[in-house]
Symmetry: C2
Subunit: 325 residues, 2 copies
Amino acid sequence: MIKVGILGYGNLGRGVESALAQNADMELVGVFTRRDPASLKVASGAPVYHTDDAEKMKEQIDVMIICGGSATDLPKMTPKYAEMFNVVDSFDTHAHIPEHFAAVDAAAKKAGKIGLISCGWDPGMFSLNRVYANAILPEGKDYTFWGRGVSQGHSDAIRRIEGVKDARQYTCPVESAVEAVRAGKNPELTTRDKHTRECFVVAEEGADLARIENEIKTMPNYFDEYETTVHFISEEELQRDHAGLPHGGFVIRAGKTGDGSRKHIIEYSLKLDSNPEFTGSVLVACARAAYRMNKEGQTGGKTMLDIAPAYLCAQSGEELRAHLL
Amino acid sequence: MIKVGILGYGNLGRGVESALAQNADMELVGVFTRRDPASLKVASGAPVYHTDDAEKMKEQIDVMIICGGSATDLPKMTPKYAEMFNVVDSFDTHAHIPEHFAAVDAAAKKAGKIGLISCGWDPGMFSLNRVYANAILPEGKDYTFWGRGVSQGHSDAIRRIEGVKDARQYTCPVESAVEAVRAGKNPELTTRDKHTRECFVVAEEGADLARIENEIKTMPNYFDEYETTVHFISEEELQRDHAGLPHGGFVIRAGKTGDGSRKHIIEYSLKLDSNPEFTGSVLVACARAAYRMNKEGQTGGKTMLDIAPAYLCAQSGEELRAHLL
């Protein structure tokens, strides 16, 4: 049994917890929280510890899955815990991956552990598919589309506007752009051509709806470059129709071989009912790989690009060759 | 530069040759043939050698890509050349992979080389996607559809019928079955439900067309379990409309997480204008990985499931993390 700890118990921590229950070779040793452990009941009934007690449990945990936010939590937490455990995180700020990798690599190497970062679907499964497709078709063009799905960052940005009680933002791929890519037309696409943003907003009573709509649509970085739709709905409607966290998307590479006349389209797509449960499932498979790679003597910073796929699967190499190859 | 040899110069060998031209870190040292080397002109102008001279060139070749048929060539050739070189093949008889792997593993281990088998798209990229999807979603169901594309084995089978001059057979996925899988309906599908077979046949003058059609449709293993359509066409039409070797297909896994109410669909698809050029491109990326893994001290039998994706790409780990992760 691979003994796993979960550090952080938000949506992602709960996703990891439910994924562990589907993997018979793995065992949840405990959930670690910065809150008062007595205040936290976890779905599986696993023990809850304070993060201050993690260090004492070095011998009892094979892999710690760090379930924190990429903005402020993970840049500190992942290197810190990589000094004690094999760790896995889902760091997803693409622009800061090189520095996060360097910090985790140094800590993990010193401790003789594996520090596996940026696991999930993007970065994660989408990255893998970009790399495979680039390796196979060096002459070609990559396209990544996200959605239709809830962006938590964009939903939060709307909630910070005065007069907004709650909000949900969906990122939507532009169907005609996806179709042009699939057809091998290699279009040049701007940000606005690829995605639209759809917002469902619950306003405070008496709030100025026109001002809220305008503040959303003109918000720099988040909305101003996109075609954005705003729907004001009631709190009941938000609960009833927008309680889930679905997401997904497409990675497509269009390439050419031979004299350039033969076209090839490689497409990977995800349609997810629950973003955190799927991401949690990826983290759990990655925890298995981190454990196995460290057992073999590997140490230091890694990403999913460094994992031989067989390490992710519970089955043996022999079983995989006979049944899935 | 990684120095590569090609053994065998049919459609696949030519596909490898054209893929090598797209990879600046690799160099084609020579093409090896069982025919008279003087009789063979290769597209790139690379030197042509007799296979008997391969052994003398051990020091000049980093990886030999074996481009032979799976029925009789590869079971002998891959283990034989694994005693001299790092080798890569596209062995695709799924049922015999375990024994082929064992033979190549033994030879490669003895020689201190890498013997990488079953590279291509199925087995190959489709296998990888089955393994990733199974690792992430242990509770789910796999579906693989092939086509629309030319099956060379089925085309050959038709050509062996008396009165047939030439033939091309297309394997076609049943659209409604693919749609049901994509919609997460987890259908139970028989062989007949998943694919149809479409045959374009050039008959000898005066041949009995009704007999040929009947022999095709009732041929055991190849056609009797499928809904099969036969079109008789002229030699000119065959040349004009069916000269290419397109192929492709879909790997889909439908799985559940949490309490089972959240569904997830993972789909990987390929749409290929040229099956041998795409397969050749996969073999070339795999040759890069075999070279790197052997450089690091790894030896023995391997499949794509054992390759960390970063090994396949010309870019460094740093570049991949910064731009593709």
